[in-house]
Symmetry: C2
Subunit: 327 residues, 2 copies
């Protein structure tokens, strides 16, 4: 059987992760990496694969099955997904929750018109966490769903700290509050405020001569980012930051705590503990690329989400093998 | 929109659970309960619903959409599922893992010939646990999958203890070994023997004059059931057993511990903590009944497993609502 031919658009953390994930899946091959930067400035790992300018992608119609779009949700994906859906099945990790319905409609139109399958908002949240929220409320209609994130590096919050005058470098971790998680796991179904669910921890490298006390106060009082949370600020050396905070760990829990029809307490929990957030997200994108390819082979077209994809399509194994080995 | 019309075949723990679960799902209604026993001997909870002999089910063709089969896997389901698939979509919880492929083929033929949808082997294992084994290996092809069961009451092992001469009553709990679970959660990917994964705990009420020491030895040395495990035996009074061991709790964990393409450790875990095993299984059956009904509405027919069902079909909500609220 011929391999599923994959293209990557955008070669940041996510694009590199997709490249690495393809190498773990023998039924797939990487055909090309596409970038808006100068292609010769980009060095990829896969031997024999070329980096092209993004404008050349159209020439790969019929040579790439699924294009995995690794750009950002703010401006890249809303433009790129409908564009690439003209010629390829697509996978993206669009994660602006509020704009998903609108994004879906635009992508659906492009994919329908061109007979492509586009699976949008793939990853772990949105993605695997969304699936577990849906499963929980479908199986236990009477109950509460809780999502906790962390321990994990938050890019947006790290950036917010870095923008403060006098901060040379910083990382921010989101931490689920252990007591809250335990109460939920015990089936107490608590009502939890923002502060009760998550805490924030910052590791900050100061510029020479910066006012440590003033910066700590500025972080802790920053509205929307930190003021609503219990925030701890640690000041460290640049060297320490590089050594101990270079990774991009993340994870979290989705917990459905409900009662079955007779009043018995029943608790479902899905959790992730990730050493690398982008590498894991990429692994999910690649599994869903296989599903897009298989769906297209069944004559399906249009935009889809993880809610529309049977898990069987994520696997290289046949339905009969799956029933025998995994059911 | 008219409700999904459900029938129940078999009114044991599972059948009662299905009845209770239907009452939590306003888009469904229970049309009838079917039994091999004398119908008048069975008292159900739902007002206005009648108990019929199982031979009368054929008369409900066109009046029941989905028949949920609540019999046992040893002899009931292999006979009943292909029979009922002549007239109704069906859901069952067939759980003899080794015979699933054969069962699937027989049911598929009946369902295909009669234009029905039959989702087989639904529940939590096989079922939700199977889904997470599949998800784990699809997203992280390099890694190991572990399934732990418990703390939970095992019907088969309880029965084995009860068959011993001198035992008046007994319950047996399967317990995951905490150290093993922790090692797996820490990403150690250990190789674990049967004894290292699970322990067994028995609570036994003796007949008057029974030999306690001999019975304890007989339990602990019973091949296949207890000899391969660390087994603890407690002797208690009948009253104590009734008060403290009347429930049917269960649960467990599916853990996928793998590495993404660059070598980062990534861990997925799905866990259940159930106060009532049959009540939860019933809740899962009912959610999949909805999926069978929706699939049939799309013109699908034949046997299916949980691997073939997109989670979106489990919910009463529309795809657009799901994208907006849960993605």
């Amino acid at each position: 059987m011929r391999k599923i031919r994959i293209g990557i658009v955008g070669y940041g953390n996510l694009g590199r992760g997709v490249e690495a994930a393809i190498s773990q899946n023998p039924d797939m091959e990487l055909v090309g990496v596409f970038t808006r930067r100068e292609p010769s400035s980009i060095h990829i790992h896969t031997e024999g694969v070329t980096v092209f300018h993004v404008n050349e992608a159209v020439n790969f119609k019929g040579e790439i099955d699924v294009m995995i779009l690794c750009g950002g949700s703010a401006t890249d994906l809303p433009e790129q997904v409908p564009y690439f859906a003209q010629w390829f099945h697509t996978i993206d990790s669009f994660d602006t929750h509020a704009k998903i319905p609108e994004f879906f409609d635009v992508v659906d139109q492009a994919a329908q018109e061109n007979g492509r399958v586009s699976i949008i908002s793939v990853g772990w949240d949105p993605g695997l966490f969304s699936l577990n929220r849906l499963l929980g409320e479908s199986v236990l209609p009477a109950g509460s769903t809780y999502t906790f994130w962390g321990d994990g590096l938050s890019q947006g919050h790290s950036d917010a700290v870095r923008r403060i005058n006098g901060v040379k470098h910083a990382v921010q971790y989101t931490l689920p509050v252990k007591e809250a998680v335990e109460r939920v796991r015990n089936g107490e179904n608590p009502e939890l405020s923002t502060r009760e669910k998550h805490a924030r921890e910052c590791w900050v490298v100061l510029e020479d001569g910066a006012d440590q006390t003033a910066i700590e106060t500025e972080i802790k009082e920053m509205p929307n980012y930190f003021a609503e949370y219990d925030t701890t600020v640690h000041f460290i050396s640049e060297e320490e930051l590089k050594q101990q905070h270079a990774g991009m760990p993340h994870g979290g829990f989705v917990i459905r705590s409900g009662e079955s029809g007779d009043g018995d307490k029943q608790i479902l929990e899905f959790s992730l503990k990730l050493e690398s957030n982008p590498m894991f997200t990429s692994s999910v994108l690649v599994a869903y690329a296989r599903a897009a390819y298989k769906l297209a082979g069944m004559g399906v077209k249009g935009a889809k989400t993880v809610f529309d994809i049977p898990f069987g399509l994520l696997s290289p194994k046949s339905p009969a093998e799956l029933r025998k080995e995994l059911l």
